[in-house]
């Protein structure tokens, strides 16, 4: 692991080493230990990774990249900084779109963030996983590998594309578990970003339903639902104690996949746009469609969906629905199903707070409000649905944190 090691000996910094491997770090560590023993000094050892600081999460659909742009570069550092590093920094920070599909979510940028003694801005960038080769090509063109940097990556793609990173860009990935990173990222962002977590007040009343900040001070136990292409349900009991309760294959990928097939759209944004204009009740069969009203025997309200896409069994109705209706029904179906499984998991684990994250929720207020509604309505107010502003980036943030505070070293 390439890093710069500062040794602060109270009261002042006496030495700075640069090392490129773990064994070098350990050697230095030995020297310091001896110093401490011999001279009875009090030592604080801080390992700081060399720039650039990246965290990467390669999912089934999207690659999420976080980049820390240092704003406190000293003149000395400025001089030492290699050209490649400068050009990467400039390229990433001066653009908001990269190629045809890469996007920097400017509204999520965290400014003046202090991380590992450094101050700077944290940038959030995403691009489709299928464009990863383009990214690797760019890394090659910009001689990324000459920086001898460690690229911390998580998500399935870290494993799947490890070889491609090596052969195409001469880069070694430091692979990390995605759930470890996710939780680490969530806890970190929530701690540095004051209004990160929010909920919907009066979720069952569309007129009065408003977004409200939620202080996630004592978050445990909490159910963390990560909705990416698929969905993972995690019960988190403390910072280091969590388990994956279950998962479902009906996730964001299913929404987009079905929308593409049903409506001919090709992007998530398009699909959401259509969904926002459609009416799912023309597609779904509701309780009232069957019973004429509520099914009182079982306390089912007439407006509840009895059968998703149930009306589509009839030829006439298939011919009368619009693409927008179909997109909306798909969204509602997937969202409600996630809601159901969430509720059962919460019940099984005896947890009352649920945090929904993942890129399925990006610009997807419809789904968030549906989830908030479903949690509240079916649990009779027992369950609270919480959301985080940096929806899909927590895995990448966790990977970055791993770079800065490697948990297996020292």
């Amino acid at each position: 692991q390439s890093s710069v090691t500062y040794i602060h000996v109270v009261p002042r910094t006496i030495k700075k080493w640069k090392c490129n491997t773990y064994s070098e770090i350990i050697n230095i560590n030995m020297i310091i230990m001896n110093l401490c023993v011999d001279f009875d000094y009090l030592c604080f050892i801080i390992f700081v990774a060399a720039f650039p600081w990246f965290g990467m999460d390669i999912g089934g659909t999207l690659v999420k990249l976080v980049y820390f742009e240092p704003k406190d570069i000293t003149a000395e550092e400025e001089q030492e900084e290699v050209e490649n590093l400068k050009s990467i920094r400039r390229y990433l920070t001066s653009n908001t779109a990269y190629g045809t599909t890469g996007i920097r979510d400017v509204h999520l940028e965290l400014q003046d963030l202090t991380l590992c003694g450094r101050t700077g801005n944290l940038h959030f960038i995403r691009f489709p996983t299928q464009d990863l080769p383009v990214f690797l090509q760019m890394g090659r063109d910009k001689h990324f590998s000459s920086l001898h940097t460690t690229l911390c990556a998580t998500g399935g793609g870290a494993y799947k594309f490890e070889g491609d990173f090596r052969t195409m860009a001469d880069l070694e990935l430091h692979k990390l578990d995605e759930l470890d990173c996710l939780i680490r990222g969530v806890l970190y962002i929530d701690s540095v970003m004051p209004r990160e977590c929010y909920y919907f007040e009066n979720p069952t009343d569309p007129e009065r339903c408003v977004e409200k900040p939620y202080p996630l001070e004592n978050p445990y136990p909490l159910l963390l639902v990560n909705i990416g292409s698929g969905v993972s349900f995690l019960a988190v009991y403390s910072k280091n104690n969590y388990k994956r309760v279950t998962g479902t294959s009906l996730g964001g990928g299913t929404f987009l996949g079905l929308c593409c097939l049903l409506t001919g759209c090709s992007t998530f944004e398009e699909a959401l746009e259509m969904a926002s204009e459609g009416e799912s009740t023309r597609v779904d069969k509701l309780v009232r469609d069957i019973y004429g009203g509520d099914y009182e025997r079982f306390g089912l309200p007439g407006f509840a969906v009895a059968s998703s896409f149930g009306n589509m069994m009839s030829k006439e109705k298939r011919e009368s629905v619009s693409k927008e209706d179909l997109a909306r029904a798909t969204l509602v179906t997937i969202t409600n199903n996630i809601g159901s499984i969430t509720r059962m998991c919460a019940l099984n684990e005896n947890i009352e707070r649920v945090v929904f994250v993942g890129n399925f929720l990006r610009v997807n207020t419809l789904s968030m409000k549906l989830l908030a509604y479903a949690m509240d309505y079916w649990s009779k107010g027992q369950l609270k649905a919480l959301f985080l502003r940096h929806e899909g980036y927590f895995g990448a943030v966790g990977a970055l944190l791993e770079l800065l505070h490697p948990s297996e070293c020292l």
């Binding site: 799947k160 279950t246 294959s249 009895a306 059968s307 998703s308 030829k315 179906t333 159901s340």
Partner: protein, 767 residues
Amino acid sequence: MAECGPVDSSTSTHTMDKSITLPPDEIFRNLENAKRFAIDIGGSLTKLAYYSTVQHKVAKVRSFDHTAKEAHGDKLYEIAVQEEVTARLHFIKFENAYIETCLDFIKDHLVNTETKVIKATGGGAHKFKDLIERKLGLKVDKEDEMTCLIKGCNFVLRNIPHEAFVYAKHADSEFRFQNTQPYIFPYLLVNIGSGVSIVKVESEDKFERIGGSSIGGGTFWGLGALLTKTKRFDELLQLASKGQHTNVDMLVKDIYGGSYGSLGLTGDLIASSFGKSATANKEFSKEDMAKSLLHMISNDIGQLACLYAKVHNLSRVYFGGFFIRGHPVTMHTITYSINYFTKGEVQALFLRHEGYLGAIGAFLKGAEEDNPNQYSWGENYAGSSGLMSVSPDMNPMQRARSGTFDMLEMDRLERQLVKLPLLQDPSSYIPDTVDLTEDALAREYWLFCFEDALDGVVKRAVASQPDMPETQERAEKFRQKYRHKLQTLRHQPFAYGSLTVRSLLDTREHCLNEFNFPDPYSKIKQRENDVALKYYLKAVKSLDQLEWEERQFALIRGVLAGNVFDWGAKAVSDVLESDPEFGFEEAKRQLEERPWLVDCYDQWFERLKGPPHRCALFFVDNSGVDIILGVIPFVRELLSRGTEVYTYISNAWFWLVTLVLRDGLRDERLMLVQSGSSSPCLDLSRLDKVLATVVRERNTDLVIIEGMGRAIHTNYYAMLSCESLKMAVIKNSWLADRLGGKLFSVVFKYEVPAGKLSHDCSAASPL
């Protein structure tokens, strides 16, 4: 939701010509006595239920002239065939397209005018209300679907053995039937109609819909129709069974390149359903999309069912609804999903008569004043179609059947049946020794054997009723019906639950009864009884002259020799046919010499030296040399030792034996209990309630089971909580061969339950 498929939609677009001529008299049977109708109209199928009575003939002993002297050569008694009326429930399932034709037929044939209402349930009940009221002149009385469903479910679980099964696509037998459990509650019913309802059932009247999902059969159908432009549900399933979901779904390995080891997620696991169809303007095949959709929905339902089962701590989960109904494809995917999500802790259970639950329940709601639940009911194999599952491609017989009529008939049994309180572990008790659904070799043999014996049975059936009308015609109809059943079972051994020698015998009995042949052997039995009765006193006298030790052995040999006489077993009937003089002494000579194939005689003899048994329960045959010359002398000895004896005997010859015994043995410590069944086999989990009471009250400490049907085909491995004696002669060379013996080998198995002094000597035979 219960079944609430579209009533008005594409379902009926494929229907056949409505003017098709039906053979309704073979379908709506006994309509002239019918009363109490109920109807369940689903998305595509209608299920009609009614109660009726059937007259059938039973052979009874009319008189017994005990003053008649042997010398006169007169018959000692007369057998009369009497009419008896029994109650029967009829359930008929047909496509909605036939509903009008069917209602017309019923209207024309309905005689009973007391019927004023018809109970109705199901999503389509509303739509057809006017039609039914107009056609039948009955008032339609709507019942709640879910209530009917649960009522029906409880009824079949309680009354039909092998109702529930586990589906295992790749196993030797796809259907693994479950034992009837002594307690059916609590359980979870997951009904997959257009949506999914998850219901927790705690008792007969207490149930609760604890959850559900909108992703159900309607989603598969509706979304499937949109994606594939295929309109019919069945066709969608067909498509799905041919597709490759991995072309459409994003798997764990598509994301990870392999498995996600640290979480134990294998590479083939679906990470995102339809995840691959989101990436490009690619074309996907209909089959692949249908398959992916099927997996998505089945997995989702399975997952929710498991979550609910866990929250409510339930391990028995039954699946039903039109999504499941007899479709191997969906049973397989649901089973797979349940296994995956519970790691095998919960089994997905399916029901043979799942399609009838609503109709049964609606009927029961209407029949509450008759209180059908106070009786035991039995599936009539002759009048029921049986399970028609397995892939249509594999089985042309089913193809011909689908789209027509399916029937279930249940007979009210004379008594309420309960399990024998002396079973060591009632929940694991299986009466039958060999499951022919699983043992292909044995199945092959027995099906051949029963088919081979059919001509003989027909001949005897004709001979048993020389003075009755249309004997030939009826016998011929019986032949056709039973042969057809055997053919069906050859292709679908699982049609009526596990196939066993017992069920083959029962099916034959039901078919014979159907054509009014209550006992084709009656004439022969009568002849045999006559001979035996004449010899009885002499036989007893010679036994009494023996020394105690000698006598004990002679008594056992007597029971075994009596056992050689059996008109049902082919080898014996051959011998007897060719040599009518073959007598009791001759039979003894045929017996295997000791040591027998299974020989616990020494242990039994030692036991006899000890204190007498308090009370013995003796399961015996219904007549003949067997009982008169073998069993009765043995019973006499037990009585003389001071043991109370309860003899369990089938009803047809009950009176005869009563009279014989009263004449020969006046003893208050001897009781006879009718079994109500004439099967040579024995199911200890379905016995007369009275008997169970007696067993408890009298502290029965010995159970004797005699005969090949009772002690070898069934109960060979039955473990009892008291001493037991199983005695039989193997009269079938194939079976003898299998057991490592030869024809007329003897099984004499004396067992003492573990914990008491063990006398168990029985070698485990490779049955």
